[in-house]
């Protein structure tokens, strides 16, 4: 079987949906953080696959060159931002844990109304 772009798109959509479902269904802040990472990585997979399947660029005299690496570059930025996001997120969850001794989001009910 030859893998096509469609396979990658379906796979990344499935991974993204698993992440989104995990975020919405689970009540543990750490699992929510992991779900967000899963969603970001699904997007990374989609971006690199889409860039790989971009049509080749026809240059002078019939020579072809690789397409512009916009998708690949995007992925590097997403990885860096995901790391920064995890740092801030873990710090916030940690400070919440120190005060409340739990990381369950359904226990977070001090603010309401």
């Amino acid at each position: 079987m030859i893998l096509s772009l469609g396979h990658y798109l379906v796979l990344s959509t499935v991974i993204f949906s698993i992440g989104a479902a995990g975020f919405l269904a689970r009540r543990n802040a750490l699992i929510a953080l992991m779900s967000i990472e899963l969603m970001l990585n699904a997007v990374n997979l989609m971006l690199v696959a889409a860039n790989r399947w971009q049509p080749l660029v026809q240059g002078e005299g019939g020579a072809t060159t690789a397409p512009a690496p916009h998708g690949h570059v995007f992925v590097f930025f997403v990885i860096a931002v995901a790391a920064a996001e995890a740092a801030v997120g873990l710090a916030i969850v940690l400070s919440y844990y120190r005060l409340r001794k739990t990381v369950r989001t359904d226990a977070a009910d001090m603010l309401r109304g």
Binding site: L5, L9, S12, F16, G19, A20, F23, A29, A32, L33, I36, M39, L40, A42, V43, M46, L47, A50, Q54, P55, V57, Q58, P67, A68, H70, G71, V73, F74, F77, V78, V81, A84, E85, V88, G89, A91, I92, V93, S95, Y96, L99, R100, T105, A108, M110, L111, R112, G113
Partner: protein, 525 residues
């Protein structure tokens, strides 16, 4: 050099934040960074105005379509910088009073401002994502800045989780647009979607493929719409707003409610109008104004009705900020419908500036009313406040009147302009709902005034008394100055907003768009 000048409104806060971090590391005692932070913001605002005044350089191709520096982004840069300056002055008073004055707050606020400015200039989904995260990461940390308070930690956690989820949705939508078009810049995506929709399919397979692509395009548009609605706090994606605003330190709430809102609306308007504004762009995706109109109705109504029931003034202001997001959405809904989309877009920009000064003033006056250990946030705390402290009471009165929309304050004109633009675009029902909502909102804003002027505090209840802080006083004077000035001469400010969105000003941005639209396809096909 040209490029540095062009990017200076963004670069000043970036460099300024690095300097602030050094200052914080080397100074002996905590605090005292509020004034340098405010100065950095004022300098960025001045630089944006100078660029506006002297005209943008004709050749902006060095930006390669990643950022669009036009008069709209300069207008919003100045709004954001003014909001950041006033918010950092408020922080100088609030954090010192409540013993939170740790230096890292000021670099955080300055980095967030830089991110907000990137967001309003972004004309590429990559820059949109980077700007959004740069802004949001700073704001998450500012929300949880009161480390010993479980409420502050809870607010930060809720805001962080929902904000990151929204960012992931935006990213997935952007990736789908890249899959469909092979472009990440708005101009390239828009032209590729337009071409795909305009093509006539050769056979049945191609037709089916075209339908699938159109459906994926609509799905991507929905993802972008939902994630931006999250960021502006529109119903039904508003759940984080009241919690994050209430739990955050009040100075962070001041910053979040104006700067994050202005930046998110700027980015929202730019991406929707640039990619999906064209009626043929992605077939049914052009139906977004109708969907957004429903969101606007829900946002105004839910925000106002829940605000009626609040006993805490801080939480009431949070719901009122949701309601104001609803009024702002009117401008965005009307913009693609009218000829050129200039009046509604201009009304939205005017509203953002007006809301920035009015809401910062109202939150600032609330900060002024809370001393250490006695943050007066409930309506009952404020009973008789204006009679005991006429000047501080008058400050809160002025800004609440502006939020209500009573002339001669600017709030009246900002509401008048967006409602008029909705009427002009043919959204009569929407305009009527907005006016009814404005009347509802008068009840809870004026309720605070009734408490302050006409009620006596319950016997034995703690009496709210204003704290003394030069920073907060200065912030209130600057806000009051703008509220009155813009209220007395609204046409002059509206003309500035009109000039920002007029097609003549767009010419400055045209080389960017042409460059992006022209060179990128050549490189890829």
């Amino acid at each position: 050099m040209n490029l540095v000048l062009l990017l200076s409104p963004i670069l000043i806060p970036v460099v300024g934040a690095l300097v602030l971090m050094l200052l914080d590391a080397f100074q002996k005692e905590e605090g005292g960074l509020a004034m340098p932070t405010a100065l950095i913001h004022f300098t960025a605002a001045a630089m944006a105005l100078a660029l506006w005044k002297h005209g943008l350089p004709a050749d902006v191709s060095a930006l390669h379509g990643y950022l669009t520096i036009d008069k709209v982004s300069l207008f919003l840069d100045a709004t954001i910088a003014l909001g950041g300056a006033i918010a950092s002055l408020l922080a100088g008073g609030y954090l010192a009073e409540h013993k939170l004055d740790r230096g890292e707050y000021y670099p955080l606020i300055t980095f967030s401002t830089a991110g907000a400015m990137m967001l309003v200039s972004a004309s590429d989904v990559l820059m949109l994502f980077l700007g959004l995260e740069t802004m949001s990461l700073g704001v998450y940390a500012m929300t949880g800045f009161r480390r010993g308070s479980p409420r502050s930690a809870e607010a930060a956690m809720k805001y962080f989780l929902l904000g990151s989820f929204a960012a992931a949705l935006l990213l997935f939508g952007s990736a789908l647009l890249y899959v469909l078009t092979g472009h990440t810049d708005y101009a390239g995506i828009a032209s590729a979607l337009h071409d795909a929709a305009a093509q006539t399919a050769a056979d049945a397979t191609a037709a089916a493929q075209q339908t699938t692509r159109a459906r994926v395009g609509i799905f991507a548009m929905l993802l972008v719409l939902v994630s931006m609605a999250f960021k502006v706090g529109a119903v039904p994606f508003h759940m984080w707003t009241p919690d994050a605003y209430e739990g955050a330190p009040t100075s962070s709430m001041a910053y979040m409610s104006v700067v994050v809102k202005a930046a998110a609306f700027g980015a929202f308007a730019r991406i929707m109008l640039a990619i999906f504004g064209d009626a043929n762009s992605a077939g049914a995706a052009a139906g977004w104004p109708a969907a957004l109109a429903w969101i606007a109705v829900a946002t105004m109504t839910v925000g106002n009705l829940i605000a009626l029931a609040q006993t805490s003034v801080k939480r009431m202001l949070a719901y009122s900020s949701i309601a104001h997001a609803g009024y702002l959405l009117l401008g965005l809904v009307a913009a693609p419908r009218e000829e050129g989309g200039t009046t509604a877009y201009a009304a939205m920009l005017f509203y953002l500036l007006s809301y920035t000064v009015s809401n910062l003033g109202a939150v600032g006056a609330l900060i002024l009313a809370g001393r250490r250990g006695a943050e007066s946030v409930s309506h009952d705390d404020l009973a008789g406040y204006a009679r005991r402290h006429p000047a501080a009471g008058f400050a809160l009165t002025l800004f609440l009147l502006s939020l209500t929309g009573i002339p001669p304050t600017v709030g009246f004109f900002s509401k008048f302009y967006v409602v008029r633009s909705a009427l002009d675009a043919g959204f009569t029902t929407l305009a009527i709902i907005a006016m009814i909502n404005s009347a509802i909102s008068a009840y809870y804003y004026l309720g605070v005034l009734v408490k302050m002027y006409m009620r006596d505090p319950a016997p034995g209840a703690p009496l709210a008394s204003p704290m003394r802080s030069g920073y907060v006083t200065a912030a209130l004077i600057v806000s009051a100055f703008f509220v009155v000035w813009m209220g007395v001469m609204p046409e002059r400010w509206l003309d500035l907003a009109r000039e920002a969105v007029s097609p003549a000003a767009a010419n400055a941005a045209a080389p960017t768009a042409d460059n992006a639209g022209g060179s990128a396809p050549a490189a890829q096909h």
